[in-house]
């Protein structure tokens, strides 16, 4: 049986009340349903929202996230999470997630679904064309500048360190100088 969020709240609310009265739950009630993380695989992660860096345990079963909750071993958060950190289950189990590359042609009024391979090929072509067209090897003073003036990039503090590192390495190899992200705002 799937425990809905509201149902879960009701159950925990009831447990809290009986606990407060000093009445223990009957064993039959405690065993009425298996734990939702039974047979699940646990993976640790760090919350993707603010910068406190709270620990979260993600439970997966059959390749699906079945539960996310605070990591009690984490020395900062010690199992606690805020409303956002407590909801990262919904970042994975979410019908709104983008799952196909989309392309919008010039002057088009709609998105078109495209394959990732096609999109990356097209983007690579445009990067090269824009770079080649705008590449400036020397400025007006004759100083070497090696700049691609026609492309700008922003992002991202939402990426991992290793991703940030290869992203800036890539952009700098292209000659971009307009490289910015969230830290500036």
């Amino acid at each position: 049986m799937e425990v809905t969020r509201r149902g879960f709240l009701k159950v925990s609310g009831a447990a809290l009340v009986s606990g407060g009265l000093g009445v223990s739950l009957k064993p039959v009630a405690a065993h009425a349903q298996p734990l939702k993380i039974q047979y699940a695989k646990e993976t640790t992660t760090i919350c993707p929202y603010c910068s406190v860096g709270c620990g979260i345990i993600v439970s997966t079963r059959g390749g699906k996230v079945v539960n996310t909750e605070g990591d009690p071993d984490h020395p900062i958060s010690q199992g606690s999470l805020c409303s956002k950190g407590g909801s990262i289950y919904q970042l994975s189990v979410n019908k709104g997630r983008l799952d196909k590359p989309l392309y919008r042609a010039p002057y088009a009024t709609e998105w078109k679904e495209v394959s990732l391979e096609w999109a990356l090929d097209e983007i690579a072509r445009r990067i090269k064309d824009s770079r080649d067209k705008s590449f400036t090897e020397f400025n007006e003073k004759g100083q070497k500048v090696n700049r691609t003036n026609g492309i700008a990039s922003i992002g991202s503090a939402a990426m991992d360190n290793e991703e940030c590192y290869i992203y800036q390495k890539f952009l700098r190899s292209l000659g971009l100088v307009y490289i910015e992200h969230q830290a500036r705002i």
């Binding site: 019908k95 690579a124 290793e162 100088v177 969230q182």
Partner: protein, 823 residues
Amino acid sequence: MTNHWIDIQFSDCILAMGSNPASNHPISFKYIQKAMEKGATLVNVDPRFTQTSSRAHLYAPLRSGTDIAFLGGMIKYILDNNLYNEKYVKFYSNAPFLVNPAFRLPGENDGVFSGLNGTKYDKSTWSFQKGADGVILKDPTLQDPNCVFQLLRKQYDRYTPELVSKITGTPVDKLLQVYKTYAATGQKGKAGTILYAMGWTQHTVGVQNIRAMSIIQTLLANMGVAGGGVNALRGESNVQGSTDYALLFHILPGYLRAPLASLPSLKDYIEKSTPATTEPKSLNWWKNYSKYITSLLRAFYGMNATPEEAYDLLPRLEDGKNYSWLSLFDAMYKGEFTGFFSWGQNPACSGASSNKTRQAMAKLDWMVNVNIFDSETGSFWKGPGMDPAKIKTEVFMLPCSASIEKEGSITNSGRWMQWRYKAVNSPGEATPDGELISELFLKVRDLYEKEGGPLKEAVTKLTWDYGPKDAFGRVTHLDVHAIAKEINGYFLEDKEINGVLYKKGSLVPSFALLQDDGSTSSGNWLYCNSYTEKGNMAARRSRKDTTPIGIYPEWAWSWPVNRRIIYNGASVDPETGQPWDTEHPVILWDGAKWTGDVPDGVAAPGAGRPPFIMKPDGVASIFGPGLADGPFPEHYEPLECPIDKNLLSPQFINPTIRRFDVGGTELDLRATCDPRFPFVCSTYRVSEHWQTGLMTRWCSWLAEMQPSMFVEMSEELAKLKGIGNGDAVTVRSVRGEVDAVAIVTARFKPFDINGQTIHQVGIPWHYGWVTTAMRKYSHDDKKPEVFTFGDSANLLTPFIGDPNTMIPESKAFMVNVDRKGVK
């Protein structure tokens, strides 16, 4: 943060100013409460009575944009009442340094420092006096009228409680209570901490807000100690890391400078970038600059180029030109770019003056937007006021993986680098950002190898050894561990250092061993020591801690070299080496070495080495001549403000800001002291949403709790405008308007500013016109019960930034509020 989250519990007084940790960093409050349980005082200064205020012992309101006046008054209070740690100030700061006698303070120079020329300072008088040997002259008694300490006293003598109160709107008795409470942390053994966030950075005096507090922390000996420090509560899970990795125009990884056009060779660059000192006992850590840049160039181009050749391939900035966010979107609006990446970011809602940002994207030929949900940025061409049939921009929207769908590390605000693991596959074709970046790079490299192009070697010679390769040398599966190791760095040849042989191909144990002869690589010297022959330090999960200050040295890893409290050399007495706070020592001398945290810059007790080793002279800069707008903080009004003069001086606003509204585009508008926009407005956040709401608006549990844009206002203002709680209203600035629900509360109170009643309102910035209602539904979908509505607060914010950082002034601008349909 100089310190870290757990450390807050050792504070005796916590000042939350320019931040609202209870709402925006909720788990940090665990440690604020722990400190309070042990007797600490929580002081909160904010224009609005927030959730943090509700738990504070002392709350003081202030008008947005007047923090320097408030803090300048505190500096005066500390000096007038002799509440500073005299030894700390003498030994650990530049207070005794003698300044050029020609230097003038704003109080004697029409509100500006000496040397103002148009919008730029000639800093020649912002210098120190030097003896014949080149060493800076000092007065250890702090009495010389030209010494930094006496200039500090003179500068803030003007900031009397009465005048400060007229500017800030904070009642005098509240000001004095805050000053007295916080200044008490200057006693030996006491620690005070500052928790600040965007409430301080998003101003045209943002850097000077933080400078003012840094001066206070230095006077009170709060730097380097447990429960102290200057602590920026950063807003994103990895914004510390993405800054360390230099996704910013002006730096390379590890805070190395971006090369300039005027520095043609690596030698020129190193000479210009390496600071020198004449202070005999200063360690001047940046003297190692050449080792870090050389190792970085090796990480970029490996053995495919010598470090000199690799430098020759790097892009150079035009000297004096700014390429930061506002300049970038200004250039985009003027049609300077054909291509644009918006990678994991939503500028259509997060950029100041968002109308300009949105219009700017319509000037592009192509753009790439990478994210996990649809956004106002990717879909800008069909947003409000846009006619897709007239917008040429091609848009590629690539779906990426969420954090739990990939492996890698992130760095929190306390500099802890923590490893995350992949728990589950991504939906459909959603792909980790790293793999998208790698695929794009390899495709571009293929094109350059096949077709050639200008300076193609910059691309084709770049090393990309991040996993197994196919017959064409392309990485087939991105191995993030290989990247993490490149970041740490390798020995590229056998190298003997201090009698120890390090084998070619082994990982460098620490940045102290990086070389400038090309024999080592490191993609970010600050992270050298994070992935060594002992393994992946960020993945450690031991809770072992033998210190009394909760540093958990074997949990994850902290930069630099696993040091948990930076500047900790200042936590001990310079002469005896005894900790100022014997109950919570950060480092302890056992007779032969320091124990506790990894010691920072400190030599044996009494050796006289000044501990702020990242500063050339080794001391904290009470006088800071490096900034664009003055060596001391000075109060100026925000670009848009409700009063027509600066009560402190004839200089109204910061004279050094780059004014886009003067000679700028038709969208760069300003309305100050304008009866059409009479109310001060500030933006803020709620616990349930994050940033532009791009992630959280799609999560129904969160959307249900905070479904819509609102504007919070006082009961007095609501009465004045005939607005009821819950009414639909429109908030307008000269740049745009946004609909909102009115929340009428006692949390805002009108300010008395120099006898004038000034109202302030507040708006969250988490909303945008894309909502879950717009997603595609399939037949088995359950419709989400709630949709968010509203648009971005940044439609109203001004296009203006701090002169040092160019961070926009989103926290103080002028608006009007009316019931919807009323104008």
